[in-house]
Symmetry: C2
Subunit: 470 residues, 2 copies
């Protein structure tokens, strides 16, 4: 075949040209360093044992909770123990939403099944129902367009958003993006047509009876109605019942409510650069989690990886020219207050951040780096040229893509922002649910993610990113 | 930098040349087909529900056990239900080893810790100890060279093989290969110097208290001594105790023994080729498992994937020119009788097998295909040229490598043999232990492996492998 003949010719040519070009000393030296970092992470890494401690001794840590305060102090102490420089807290006021004691829902007096409980949980930010709950006729919808067409027909109803994940999406984050508007804006759109509450199909393609929480929003001038996630098993059951029987009603009871903002903090530590200490490469994750499971993959993993990356460099005696800083951001889940406060502080007072990488896609096998820059441009290339350092662990796929919620704002101030990309298939089985626990994390995969951060931060701290910003 | 400049130049050149070459119709058509196969697997695949049934309703299925017989009949019925052609059993006599009721070990009367239980399990094939157990002084060794140096000093002792996995190996299979000689030949080498039993550190880098079984061997003319795996936690404890205290003794009790060979079978079904029905592309896994856990990843996954690949093609109405056959081999774990009988039958009576792919590395995210052929040769290239079909799921890494235990012998008769390669980090957490259960399998990863087999078998069945054998 012509096609494959051409490809092979090119492959052979590539090999020849690269072989002739040879590897200059710095490439060879960095490859050596990368090998040592990966060896050390796999042989003696501490990321997993730290994450186990965070998950089992502190547990879930929603912004404003006592556990979140414990996590901040635990992180500070871990940074001190790891011998980081300039360990400090950046105070941040955070939203303080609590789930309360009650969250339950039932189909009421169905002709076919009688009264049947449904597995639900309040969405983050939701107001409570009255103490006895809210009862309404259930109307199933899949789009906001359908909601608007309901018009006055939705008055007094409970809208049931049931558009599932598109399972054919190869990357599960695309499926998430394709469904999550229901959770984020569902209550607003429903309230506009007079609905009294919403149930939202959990954000996962997995079929089980575990509801997945996550942030939802209200809008000024639109009534605030209660919003709950329903498990995928519950959603399928309810949908089938609605097809079989007219006038199905549900009673929803939630006790969630929002308290006054609470004091909290971003946790910061670093390895001071030997030559350009006032230029920073940032590694980050977010310390807060939802109040379900243990926040293991989301995002305890990213926090311990950022710390581990610095620990690995210290253990190996590697001294970067620029400063490498680990930041555990607070309040990514329901406010991004930590990320916003951090970006504002850097914009106002520096130091200059040349690059930032966030790990917030779970502690799975790393596959590469997403760079928020034009793939044809010099910034992208200045990063992607180092991908060969990660080839031994197959984490060398560098693509244009999103960085992370906590660091995206840094990009607006000239920082080249990036994300650690990992195998995505398992993430939404666990995300924001009781399933997100330490036993779902594989130690080696977690460590290889940390090693990837260590390798990239070290080489970028030494070599820079070539151009200002993106 | 010169190095990266050269690389970028080559990348740009590659793009240009490939773009000019264009995609001929057949490449485009196969890409379409591959996309449909992957969509169907992700949206409607049955591999996971079949595997759940095999794991939960039949469970572990060691050769010769009633559960293995159930698994054979279940598989036959599943193939019939899936509408495969020529569904049949190939009778095979298999070894019949049983674990028995008793397997326990204790440190006896240690000065420091008294009598303490150790978590062990019999290695597959091991003889029993006397009913009251065997007691011996424990000697820790890491190599057979050390064993030989012990000489008469090992007489009456229990040798404790404690060479761990090399955690720095990027691919865990290499770590396994570097340690598994202790399990396979440990009893032989120990018996030669007069030891009365062996304990072998479990074949995993994970630290937990679950022992991992697996096959061990005896040799004619060498006394058969009992052999057990000890958990990694137990091995570390025992090793520390040995350093602190001289003359530590262990009592080991095993009731395992070998019965007469039992009748069993390989399970075979196919989609008959439309143009060359007497030429076969084989997809395989092995149906037997160890008698621990549920044999989910090892290798229920491979079996349901082979069947799923054919189901996907049938569902999509894809009719291959050559026959595609799914084979669930029996007795991979302790005898390879199924694989040997199959290869002997094909060598004697055909039909000709042009290619075979085994899935026996767990149902994890597929990363590519290992081809047991010279990477510079035409056989390798005739397969690797199709890797672009798997790029959308990042399973397009084609490398020279091992195929699979059950199909390797086919390679000697001119078949191009290959293996499905998957992400390796988690496999040995579960392998041959109570941890190998259905909850460790991710539905989407399992399906994507099946889709990879479907895509490759379909294109090879239509296009052939270019040359005879390797």
């Amino acid at each position: 075949m012509k096609f494959s003949a051409a490809v092979f010719l090119v492959l052979i040519l590539s090999t020849v040209i690269v072989a002739f070009a040879g590897e200059p000393d710095s490439a060879r030296a960095y490859k050596d360093v990368a090998g040592k970092i990966i060896d050390e992470a796999l042989a003696n890494g501490q990321a997993y044992s730290r994450l186990r401690e965070l998950c089992l001794q502190i547990g879930p840590r929603l912004s404003g909770s006592p556990a979140a305060a414990a996590a901040v102090e635990w992180s500070r102490q871990e940074m001190v123990k790891a011998g980081l420089d300039n360990v400090h807290l950046q105070p941040v006021m955070v939203p303080h939403w609590v789930r309360g004691e009650v969250e339950e829902a039932s189909v009421v007096n169905s002709r076919q099944v009688g009264t049947v409980p449904l597995t639900v949980c309040a969405l983050g930010g939701s107001v409570a129902t009255p103490a006895l709950g809210v009862v309404g006729k259930v109307i199933e919808v899949k789009t906001f367009e359908e909601v608007r067409r309901l018009g006055a027909g939705a008055k007094g109803a409970i809208l049931f958003y049931n558009r599932p994940f598109d399972k054919t999406e190869r990357n599960t984050f695309n499926a998430y993006v394709g469904a999550v508007d229901q959770r984020g804006r569902g209550a607003i759109e429903a309230a506009r047509v007079g609905a009294v509450a919403v149930l939202v199909r959990s954000m996962t393609s997995r079929l089980d009876d575990i509801p997945h929480t996550g942030v939802m929003h209200y809008e000024d001038g639109v009534p605030q109605i209660p919003a709950a996630a329903i498990s995928t098993v519950g959603a399928n059951f309810l949908s089938e019942l609605l097809q079989a029987e007219a006038g199905v009603r549900v009673n929803l009871r939630l006790s969630s409510h929002t308290l006054r903002d609470a004091p909290s903090a971003n946790v910061i530590g670093e390895i001071t650069g030997t030559e350009l200490p006032d230029e920073v490469v940032l590694l980050g994750g977010h310390l807060d989690s939802w109040d379900k499971g243990q926040g293991a993959h989301d995002d305890g993993a990213g926090c311990v990886q950022a710390l581990e990356a610095l620990s690995l460099l210290k253990t190996l005696g590697l001294k970067p020219k620029r400063t490498i800083r680990a930041v555990m951001f607070i309040n990514e889940e329901n406010g991004t207050r930590g990320g916003k406060a951090y970006a504002a502080e850097i914009a106002a007072n520096g130091p200059r951040h040349i690059a930032a990488i966030e790990s917030d896609r779970g502690g799975f096998m790393p596959t590469g780096i997403s760079v928020d820059a034009d793939p044809g441009g010099p910034a992208f290339k200045s990063v992607a040229k180092w991908s060969f350092l990660l080839e031994s662990i197959q984490a060398h796929r560098f693509e244009k893509g999103y960085s992370g919620v906590d660091i995206a704002a840094l990009g607006d101030h000239g920082t080249l922002v990036m994300g650690l990309v990992v195998e995505s298939q398992r993430y939404f089985d666990y995300h924001h649910s009781d399933n997100d626990t330490i036993d779902k994390v594989n130690e080696r995969e977690l460590e290889l993610g940390a090693a990837t951060l260590a390798v990239m931060s070290y080489v970028l701290a030494n070599e820079g990113v070539g151009v200002e910003g993106r």
